[in-house]
């Protein structure tokens, strides 16, 4: 599984590989500061014919300063590659300042180069939307490109480079390992922002739970938690059911 509903936030182009509709919510607290909370929702509807449609909503910050996003996207796979496009409404609110609204466009794609290697890229804010009418300040345009490598079914190695036009590039690397069936451990690090992280994920029936903790040497700890609900049955589950059925027959 190299895509889930959270692709709507991270890389709309990867959403096209989704086989099963689903919804998810997540919560993140950064550096133990209440003002840096983020909550997010993601949902995806899979249509065999038209591709995958996604809805992503998130809110970061407190009443004094907050950023909200709501996006609607579409993605579809063609052969070994998928592409996707998303329109996002983006609001920045700071107390005592007028609230700003923007419209930004995100684009992304994911290609299965071999059975073990996947390549993905995304551009956030393709339109390079202006943030201010007075000075030439822009909403950040972030380009990301990454490779995932699956040497065997239980291991996934991922590396990604992220470049914000106005910032130094960040390299991230991570590993995911399925310790026991449907339980994953993850760990990784990123250069430049120098954050290290580790996490745990597990699946129980149609529910997946993910927890992650990250540490920054100066700023401290970040905790994240998410729950996803898969709607309907995936192909693999159906296979499992068939196997189970066979056993019962025997």
């Amino acid at each position: 599984m190299y895509s889930d509903v959270w692709a709507v936030h991270n890389n709309i182009g990867a959403l096209g590989w989704l086989k099963q509709s689903g919804v998810g919510v997540s919560f993140e607290n950064r550096y133990n500061l209440l003002a840096l909370n983020q909550i997010a929702f993601a949902g995806a509807a899979v249509s065999q014919k038209y591709g995958v449609f996604g809805l992503g909503i998130s809110r970061f910050g407190s009443s004094l300063f907050n950023q909200s996003r709501a996006g609607l996207g579409w993605s579809k796979s063609f052969g070994i590659a998928s592409i996707g496009l998303e329109g996002q409404w983006y609001q920045v609110a700071a107390s005592e300042f007028p609230t700003q609204h923007y419209f930004i466009l995100n684009f992304g794609g994911l290609a299965q180069l071999t059975s073990k290697i996947h390549f993905a890229a995304s551009i956030q804010n393709l339109t390079q939307t202006k943030a201010s009418t007075i000075i030439d300040e822009r909403i950040p345009t972030i380009v990301r490109a990454g490779i995932s490598f699956t040497p065997n079914q239980r291991v996934k190695l991922i590396t990604e480079i992220q470049k914000d036009l106005d910032q130094k590039s960040i390299v991230k690397a991570g590993i995911e390992y399925e310790v026991i069936k449907k339980v994953w451990v993850r760990t990784g690090f990123s250069s430049q922002i120098e954050q290290v992280s580790g996490g745990l994920g597990c699946q129980w029936r149609n529910l997946t739970f993910d927890y992650a903790v990250a540490n920054h040497p100066q700023l401290g700890w970040t905790n994240s938690f998410g729950i996803n609900l898969l709607l309907g049955k995936s192909e693999s589950d159906q296979k499992d059911d068939k196997k189970a059925g066979l056993k019962e027959v025997k």
Binding site: P151, N152, R154, V155, I175, Y177, F189, S191, E194, P217
Partner: protein, 702 residues
């Protein structure tokens, strides 16, 4: 698979029945190749000669595949966790190894691993103690014995051996008391898991060779000896003489040895609890002198350690501030270089007494799945150590007594091994390290280590995993990955992130940094190999071009790269080309500086006679870009010169065996720096632009 095992079994049985000569001859350890694969040679502040000496010590005790514990196997740094587990399983299932060839029948053992393991592993045909001979007879008839004699010197005149002219105030600058010859003698006879006897003596260049029982000098400057027995009744090990002790992850007692971060990212991050080890080296600071014993009782291993030795240090006298008649002696430091050449060094020799007592208890679960252990130890000095206070050493050890208490544990789950140790010292300082190594797929290995060492943790013989040389003032986390993607391709790399909460070396403030290394090895055939390696280290350091009174911390970056090609052209000729370089820069500092070194090796091997040659050239902008090149040397000696400036260096090493009992080595190495007027510094200074070192060594097997 089963068929393969049976086949192998028969091959072994018939092999051993038909002829005794069928046993695989254990190849001589090619230390340089092996070490180059383990170490990350270009690290800034490591004493490589010491590290190599320690590693050699480790390998001079080969492991017996039939008796080796999991820790013994891991300690070779060759086997992955999966291979360790499979070897143990194999031994459990099919019984003792009949021959070293049997390794081929273990699924995860590829030929590369087996070849790498051969120099360090044996399979004993006559299991110890079972050949009914008395110990004395066994010692006399042991074939694994040799005496080594080595002499070396620098041919050019060095300042330390010249006549000193008194300066204006009449003080003569210090000069060496002895001659520039270095002498070394070692005798060793040992049998794995049975006994070990050794005697080592050494005189460094500049030290005197004289017989003066009054000053406890008996010819050579340094003497070391040991007598150890293993597996005698309830005693697992019992030793008298010089020894080392290794417990847990090395936070208290590490036997002085660590590999740490290097080109091998997995197997080197874990320390093995190998317990008591005989000491046969000449590093004069890293051992205990006295006695030690380990008793095996059910699943417990109980160890007692006693040591008394004299250490070097500058003893000073201070009047008691309250009672003026009371005079107190103290040492400002302890010096572990072991040099006793100048009047000052001779005066400081063995001036302070160090007494050590320790005990440990380890519980090992029967199947080897897990173990836990505890250690308590105390070290007492005759004269207290009182350092001259600086901002740096605020939290360093002061006083005459230190105590450590430590707990360790390890747990094996599937192809994973988890390990950790946590220790405290008398002043309340603490240190903790924990990690895992594991095989998560075919040819895919990972490791992870986290550590947290407080700034006031004190342990004189510690050497746990870390970025800094001492286990203090450091927090960090490390990831390693190794992937044999294909029999011909090997990928390896690590990422380490660390921080130093208090002042550290060349950093006058809390600092942090990270480091990564990646290496790709391609071996298209058994005789050709090729690798590319890149390493990047960034950390905060004082800005070197800063002129303000307060130091400024800036990001300091060091990059190293290596490209190397090896080829065995024919049975008697092998060649190697190595190109390596470095870049060094500081943010907001002076422009980036560079260094490069290229070396070409040409080695001839005709069996009884072999000749190794190297020509290398180096050009570096500054000392920050110095290039370390590992060189072949006579057996059990090391040479890793740090080359900087501009010049050439070459050496030739001749080895021949006039008969089966005698081996002779002769080595000549010379560095020429044409645009330099002098080479070296201090008493080692040579007036001239070249330096020549000659070594001659004999080995006699009784």
């Amino acid at each position: 698979m089963r068929f393969k095992i049976i086949l192998c079994f028969f091959a072994c049985v018939f092999g051993s029945l038909l002829s005794k000569a069928q046993t695989y001859p254990r190849p001589e350890i090619q230390v340089e190749d092996f070490i180059e694969n383990l170490f990350n040679l270009q690290s800034a502040d490591a004493n490589y000669e010491d590290l190599y000496e320690q590693l050699l010590l480790l390998y001079s005790n080969p492991i017996d595949l039939n008796l080796a514990s999991p820790d013994d196997l891991r300690n070779t740094y060759i086997l992955s966790e999966q291979q360790v587990q499979e070897l143990l399983k194999h031994r459990q299932k099919t019984g003792k190894f009949l021959s070293i060839y049997e390794l081929q029948s273990i699924p995860s053992f590829d030929l590369k691993t087996i070849y790498a393991l051969l120099p360090f592993a044996i399979v004993n045909e006559t299991p110890m103690n079972q050949d009914n001979k008395g110990l004395f007879k066994r010692i006399l008839s042991e074939p694994n014995n040799s005496v080594i004699l080595r002499g070396s010197r620098t041919l050019e005149d060095q300042k330390g051996y010249t006549k000193a002219n008194p300066d204006r105030s009449g003080n003569s600058p210090s000069r060496y008391a002895g001659d520039p010859n270095k002498l070394f003698v070692r005798y060793r006879v040992s049998h794995v898991k049975d006994f070990s006897i050794g005697l080592t003596a050494e005189k460094d260049p500049g030290e005197q060779l004289k017989w003066n029982p009054k000053t406890n000098q008996f010819g050579m400057d340094f003497w070391s000896a040991h007598f150890m027995l293993e597996n005698k009744g309830i005693f697992k090990k019992i030793i008298v003489g010089d020894y080392q002790y290794m417990f847990g992850q090395g936070l208290v007692y590490s036997a002085g040895f660590s590999v740490g971060k290097g080109s091998e990212p997995i197997t080197t991050v874990r320390r093995s609890s190998i317990g008591i080890r005989p000491y046969t080296s000449v590093l004069e600071g890293l051992f205990f002198r006295g006695g030690a014993a380990t008793i095996g009782f059910k699943n417990f291993e109980i160890t007692a350690l006693v040591s008394r030795k004299y250490v070097d240090g500058n003893i000073q006298t201070a009047n008691d501030t309250i009672d003026n008649d009371q005079i107190e002696n103290f040492a400002s430091s302890i010096n572990i270089t072991g040099f006793h050449r100048t009047p000052t060094e001779l005066r400081n020799k063995h001036s302070n007494r160090e007494d050590m007592l320790g005990t440990s208890i380890i519980y090992k679960e029967k199947s080897g799945k897990w173990e836990i252990g505890a250690l308590a130890t105390t070290i007492q000095y005759q004269f207290p150590i009182i350092r001259r206070p600086t901002v740096y050493n605020q939290f360093d050890f002061n006083g005459d007594r230190n105590q450590n208490l430590s707990f360790t544990g390890q747990y094996n789950y599937q192809n994973f091994s988890f390990f950790g140790e946590s220790a405290i010292s008398k002043g309340g300082g603490h240190a903790t390290v924990a990690g895992l190594v594991g095989s998560i797929g075919r040819g895919l290995d990972v490791s992870m280590v986290a550590r947290n060492y407080s700034k006031d943790y004190h342990a004189f013989y510690s050497n746990g995993f870390g970025e800094a040389t001492r286990n203090v003032n450091e927090k960090g986390i490390y990831w390693g990955l190794k992937y044999r993607a294909h029999p011909k391709w090997l990928l390896a790399g690590y990422y380490d992130r660390f921080m130093f909460p208090y002042l550290s070396f060349q950093a006058d403030g809390p600092s942090w940094g990270d480091e990564y290394l990646s290496r790709i090895t391609y071996s298209p055939s058994k005789t050709v190999s090729f690798f590319v390696q890149y390493r990047n280290e960034s950390k905060l350091r004082n800005l070197s071009s800063n002129s303000t009174p307060t130091d400024i911390l800036v990001k300091t970056r060091r990059q190293n790269w290596v490209i190397q090609a090896d080829a065995k052209a024919t049975t008697w000729l092998s060649v190697r080309t190595r190109v390596q370089g470095s870049l060094w820069n500081q943010e907001k500092g002076s422009p980036q500086t560079y260094g490069i070194a290229i070396s070409q090796d040409l080695n001839f091997d005709f069996g009884k006679i072999s000749l190794s040659n190297r020509f290398s050239i180096f050009d570096t902008d500054d000392y920050n870009n110095r290039q370390y090149l590992y060189e072949k040397n006579v057996l059990y000696a090391f040479s890793i010169p740090a080359l900087y400036g501009r010049g050439v260096r070459f050496y030739s090493l001749l080895q021949f065996s006039p008969n089966r009992k005698i081996d002779v080595w002769i080595r000549v190495a010379r560095t020429i720096q044409r645009d330099a007027k002098t080479i070296g510094s201090g008493n080692e200074l040579i007036n001239g632009n070249q330096r020549t070192d000659v070594v001659v060594q004999f080995r006699y097997k009784f």
